[in-house]
Subunit: 417 residues, 2 copies
């Protein structure tokens, strides 16, 4: 055994261990707040169900001796004390709200794993140098009130508090009112400087980890997104009497673009490119298509990558010839997580002997906002069949336990710095 391996072993043995069974019990038990007949959860933000799970969370943390603060947008900060009172907290967490007919893991896993970390600290009488704060961010999902990632957005200064309070749901209730109704419109002024780092454990919501039989995803950032529309105008013609050389078939040109989008993504790893929507006119078997509309989604972890993909798409559309038009209709910049926090996650998985791979989140997360103000990273655990926003969403007890262990190990790693 090498000296390094020996040191890792010793460190592991000396680390108090989170309790996977206890975590799983919390997952099962909190799923009753908004639980559906099919084993899923409908727990829209700031609803009565959300109040119930928030109360449970506050009670659990207070029982562990935490200080619980609630800010004006309803974010909950439960802080377990550290040895050195001059140090900012290491923050972990995620969100307790769900999509309608959502799952039992999306969001809440990251909060419950934080609670499990605190329980472990408490039962082993471990005092870290830094305080540890477990956060529940308000309205990550964005299905009752838009936009999504609202609480973290306000906290990070990306959204103005007053304007956000004034946003209404379809019934006309505003965010401010809804916070009051469930008793979570707080007054705490938590400053970004209160955090030394932020680490969010979340299910992958994609198939990569499961497909590669990997236990832990070391999330290095969140992809940027650009949406495009392409309209191709060809010439509608009779499928029988129009020779191949006389055709201007809009669908053939569209097919070249569909393949180009795939090739562009492949040439720009880990970028992804998708043509998800196609509309053919007149869409009749024996008529050469006169027009095609495509909707394209391109994502890449870096701005440079997105630029390169967009420019290659422009070339592909140019190559498709006259009557092909490209429009960028929406975009969102990529987020790159802090390399040293990412390294702490990577090293923790290694220390624990779990298989791990770097991944970039395809979906948005609260961590994307927090990354703009605090050194941030994320930990992914596998999602069965890549399913999420779905009652069939599933991550096994073992997978959840490993996620919590890596989260704890990462906190210990960051605490040593």
């Amino acid at each position: 055994m090498s000296a390094d391996a020996l040191r890792a072993d010793i460190r592991r043995i000396n680390t108090p261990a989170t309790n996977g069974d206890r975590l799983w019990q919390d997952i099962v038990s909190t799923a009753r707040f908004g639980g559906t007949d099919k084993g899923g959860v409908t727990r829209l933000t700031l609803s009565e169900e959300d109040r119930q799970v928030r109360d449970w969370f506050v009670d659990a943390c207070e029982a562990l001796g935490c200080t619980v603060e609630i800010d004006a947008i309803g974010n909950i900060f439960a802080t377990y004390p550290g040895e050195d009172t001059s140090l900012p907290a290491i923050a972990v967490g995620s969100h307790l709200d769900t999509q309608p007919q959502g799952g039992r893991f999306d969001g809440i896993l990251g909060v419950l794993a934080g609670v499990e970390v605190l329980r472990t600290l408490k039962e082993t009488s471990t005092l870290l140098r830094h305080p540890v704060t477990v956060v529940n961010w308000t309205n990550e999902e964005g299905s009752r009130f838009s936009p999504a990632m609202m609480g973290s957005g306000v906290f990070a200064g990306a959204l103005a508090l007053d304007a956000t309070h004034a946003l209404a749901d379809r019934q006309g209730a505003t965010v401010g009112e809804a916070l009051g109704v469930i008793g979570y419109r707080g007054e705490a002024k938590v400053e970004p400087s209160a955090f030394a780092a932020y680490v969010e454990l979340h299910i992958e919501q994609g198939p990569l980890l499961e497909a590669s039989d990997t236990e832990i995803g070391v999330v290095t950032g969140v992809q940027g997104v650009r949406w495009f529309d392409v309209v191709i105008s060809g010439t509608e013609a009779h499928a029988g009497s129009t020779p191949m050389a006389q055709r201007d078939d809009a669908l053939v040109r569209a097919a070249e673009i569909v393949l180009a989008v795939r090739d562009i993504a492949r040439r720009n790893p880990p970028g992804v490119g998708t043509v998800g929507f196609v509309e053919v006119g007149p869409n009749s078997r024996n008529v050469v298509p006169g027009s095609v509309r495509l909707q394209i989604d391109m994502r890449h972890p870096s701005d440079a990558g997105l630029e390169q993909m967009e420019s290659a798409l422009q070339d592909a559309v140019l190559k498709a010839g006259a009557g092909a038009e490209l429009k960028r209709i929406w975009s969102k910049a990529p987020v790159v997580f802090d390399p040293s926090v990412v390294e702490a996650v990577r090293g923790s998985a290694e220390t624990l002997g779990y298989s791990a791979t770097d991944v970039v989140s395809g979906a948005g997360h609260d961590a994307a906002h927090i990354a703009t103000i605090t050194p941030t990273a994320m930990i992914f655990v596998p999602s069965k069949d890549g399913l999420s926003h779905n009652e069939a969403e599933y991550t096994s007890p073992g997978e959840c336990a490993r996620g919590a262990e890596v989260l704890f190990q990462t906190i210990l790693e960051l605490d040593r710095r």
Copy 2:
């Protein structure tokens, strides 16, 4: 001048000439039967408008001294006598019915050019060896009663008379009844053996002649058609969180098939291949398509060509991998016209000094049925912008006149045999 060219010149000088102006006047004048505001024609088969144009046709032919016979399916045969009463007639013609909002040329041009030939024979006191019969076939278009090419189908024995009489339109009127209503349920028993040959002049209904600036299309046959459905089952997935290597994108696979269909047609000239219909599931921008349905139309003048195209399509679908299924749902065998009648058309265009090219009809025609019982060919003249089944359908007076001249010259050529 060569001896051949000299002979051609002499033949041309000695040929009585059809009158293009008179033909054009007939075209304009008969367009009033079912004429639309936009300069098109709606003259559904066996309608009152059809009766009017039939009556006009019968009157015109009787005025020229023709014998007019009407058979049980309403086909009209107007026969101008020949010198040798033992010889069968050279038949020409087409159809007087149109599509709803159809044009002024589709069908009727071939009948009116036949009338113009008879007028020319009459005014120049020319008696050919063979009789000349001008035919109007009932219900070529098939828009009121299905199937199309009904009259020629019954005449050629492809359709049974009694069953055809019993077919009903959307209002419940049968073919037999409708024939009675307009007075065109005849009793003549015209035998296929009554014809030495059949030549049909028609507008091209495609862009080839116009695009190549060619005056006459020498039609060598009618393409066979095969229709296919392809269903591709991939895996629906999140466009953001599903890496390229983990995807089974049904649309990407469909795009390969769209391009394969084009390539297959190009490799099998003069075949054509079209994907006219595409249905994507779930058809949402940020979801990797899970399923795609394609409708494919393939045509070729020869059975061997169709076989080769279908087999290449099978390969392409196989190459598209598991979850891609091909079904042939309909087919129609190609028709090859009689080489000696085709040669008569080709030679006639040459004699008259008109540019000509061999073409294969992409659409069906009465000639396709008649070819099964009588040596047959067709003559095409250009369609502006390839348009047909459209009120904007147009063939110029000069183009119509040249078609009639070639028709007459072909009759003279066949008459010499």
